[in-house]
């Protein structure tokens, strides 16, 4: 971009500036820190100039939005054409309570639904399973059968709005509940749109809501890719995630590298099954965190787009839609504090802005009460308004990738890409993603980073406003969501009734057929759907898989 002698001149002038302006000032008034490092421990310089960005061909390295390598955005018009989906993750108690919350959110302007399930559901247990005791509805909505799914989406136009479901171990089954409900409502499955998280690799690494061991889990996932690509074409059958890796304590570079690494692993497995990459790749989607370091997050999303499109091309993808790193973002829950919770609104705003400037397709903004409870109505309304203000009042969507060309952001994008490839190599050397998981590689990297971060806070090397500095003794009370105490009993009664009023013969037969198929190589989705239509419960279906696939036990290292 710059002629060599222009660069030479800049270099000379920079050296003069460093000697005469910068160093002399630092000697008189030292900078606030000895080193300014970002959250990935990258040392950040006082100033970035044309010297810091490689003098490569713009079109090859950056290009235009909607064209390879998609650095500047996955679509040609980005937010000018369509704003990101405002998709607030929500769920608590029973299906009725959550249905109410979904209506509230839609009424207040969210444009996509996102389901949070409770722990028993995440682990494939019905509400009345002994291990579910005390856990019903606490972290999300309890869904034990198709009946619950019917109530969850009652009076909600699922032919017009898309739904994302954060479910992993039993993802195929919960997806089947959603599909069956749509079909029963007369909405054909080629019209429904949404996402299932369905990313088991990051469960072993970070979120920990796995059930079965890696091989059968991957089999189930590839089954969903296959089924979705022909039967439910508007559905993203996976949301390859970094959010949880980051929440567990990783750096931004680790989040980027581990997520994309997982993604490529899924692609390899699907290709091994014999699926055509251009058939399933367009429905792969991603999910990233939006943490505190504003520019690092933006650089991260940009680097992700460029790396993904390049690697997919290398794997043989020919269609442009197979190269797109389309992603949802959630602002960082782990960055929010119980102390002075109102100021979390400010943190979330900065993080949301980074996600928007980074070109996200979909966004969840956390509520200020994140560290205290599930979102109250007031808190989630403010979180939604945050997105709406960014969209309508700030003007940041007037142009695409506004930070493109910033010397700092381009340098940082390149740097993160470089560090990502370093991680790719290390994982290769360990034998690949699953061997690395079994060796505890990712888990150890994350635990190290988390510990380091905590020590920085405890040693006052890193300030968390309101926690280790700018504290207050004032008692700040904000409304806290209270859940219905009678919910668990009601749900158990519903399950008892359900089991009484079903055709037990049909269920026994469909579960038997499922068991047989589990031991074979056929696609399991049709078998799961049969069980679901007969009102077999989540627990009953998962038990078949637990019997046939076994359960995963992780090495408890710290």
């Amino acid at each position: 971009m710059y002629k060599n002698d222009a660069l030479e001149q800049i270099k000379k002038n920079k050296e003069i500036w460093e000697k005469e302006n910068y160093t002399s000032l630092v000697r008189k008034h030292p900078e606030r820190k000895k080193q300014f490092t970002n959250l990935s421990a990258i040392n950040i310089n006082p100033i970035y100039t044309p010297l810091d960005i490689k003098n490569d061909n713009y079109t090859e390295k950056s290009g235009f939005p909607g064209s390879f390598p998609f650095l500047r955005g996955v679509h040609a018009t980005m937010h000018r054409g369509r704003l990101w989906t405002m998709r607030q993750f929500a769920g608590f108690g029973s299906a009725e309570e959550t249905n109410k919350r979904y209506k509230y959110l839609l009424e207040h302007g969210e444009t996509g639904l996102s389901v949070a399930f409770d722990y028993p559901t995440l682990y494939g247990y019905d509400t009345d399973h002994p291990l579910s005791r005390g856990e019903f509805g606490k972290c999300g909505v309890a869904i034990s059968s198709l009946k619950d799914m019917e109530i969850l989406f009652q009076d909600i136009p699922i032919d017009k709005v898309t739904t994302s479901m954060t479910i992993n171990g039993p993802a195929a089954i919960v997806w089947a509940f959603y599909i069956a409900n749509a079909e029963n409502r007369g909405i054909s499955k080629d019209l429904i749109g949404g996402t299932i998280q369905n990313d088991i690799l990051k469960e072993y690494i970070a979120q920990k809501s796995y059930i079965f061991p890696p091989e059968p889990s991957m089999r189930l996932i590839i089954d969903t890719f296959e089924y979705g690509s022909t039967q439910v074409p508007r559905w993203n059958t996976i949301s390859i995630s970094g959010y949880h890796i980051r929440e567990a304590g990783s750096t931004a570079i680790q989040e980027l590298a581990f997520t994309l690494g997982d993604g490529l692993e899924y692609v390899r497995w699907a290709m091994k099954r014999g699926l055509d990459i251009d058939q399933f790749a367009p429905r792969l989607s991603f999910f990233f965190n939006a943490h505190n370091d504003f520019f690092e997050e933006i650089a991260k999303y940009r680097a992700a787009r460029r790396i993904w499109s390049r690697e997919m091309k290398n794997l043989g993808a020919k269609k442009e839609r197979s190269l797109l790193m389309r992603f949802h973002t959630q602002t960082a829950g782990c960055s929010l504090t119980a102390q002075q919770p109102e100021i979390n609104i400010v943190r979330v705003t900065m993080q949301a802005l980074a996600a928007v400037l980074g070109g996200t397709q979909s966004l969840h903004t956390n509520s200020m009460d994140e560290a205290l409870a599930l979102p109250s109505e007031k808190a989630v309304r403010i979180a939604l308004r945050t997105q709406q203000i960014i969209a309508e009042e700030t003007g940041v969507t007037h142009t695409i990738d506004p930070l493109g060309g910033s010397y700092y952001v381009e340098w940082l994008t390149d740097k993160m890409e470089e560090e990502t490839y370093r991680y790719f190599e290390r994982v290769e050397q360990l034998g690949g993603v699953i061997p690395a998981i079994e060796k505890g590689f990712f888990q150890r990297e994350i635990a190290e980073a988390a510990y380091k971060y905590q020590k920085e806070i405890d040693n006052d090397e890193r300030t968390i406003v309101g926690v280790n500095n700018f504290k207050t003794d004032e008692q700040i009370d904000i409304p806290i969501l209270k859940m219905d105490e009678k919910g668990e009993d009601r749900q158990n009664k519903r399950l008892t009734n359900l089991r009484k009023n079903r055709n037990q013969q049909n269920i026994d037969r469909s579960l038997q057929q499922l068991r047989k198929a589990a031991n074979g190589t056929e696609n399991l989705m049709p078998y799961i759907l049969n069980c679901v239509h007969d009102y077999a419960t989540l627990g009953e279906i998962c038990q078949v898989f637990r019997d046939e696939f076994g359960e995963y036990r992780e090495p408890s290292l710290y």
Binding site: E135, K138, Q339, A447, A450, S556
Partner: protein, 131 residues
Amino acid sequence: MKRKIRVLIAKPGLDGHDRGAKIVARALRDAGMEVIYTGLHQTPAMIVEAAIQEDVDVVGLSLLSGAHMTLFVDVAVMLKEKGLDDVLLLGGGIIPKEDIPKLKKKGIAGVFGPGTPVEEIVDFVKKNVLQ
């Protein structure tokens, strides 16, 4: 020579959030204690059994899923039933402040929520452990 303080860090119930538990485990180890981490998905019975097996002085429970009133209390009751009255029982995670006095009544000596410096936990253990 006084024996090292032995601590069991446990994750009761289905909750998979282990970032805090691992940090506390490591901090206590760095402070010179013997720490056993149970890993995830422990029932109260499994935790109490491990506490007996490992002959610990301290049991630390970490839970962010909201099921603490059931699971922490179960552990407290079981420890008492097994005669482990001397074990220092601590809790951490996401515990609403109105539940803390209820937990303390049941035998949980300290509850350490978000923002707690790890040194505070280390000091509390050193001060309150019965050996």
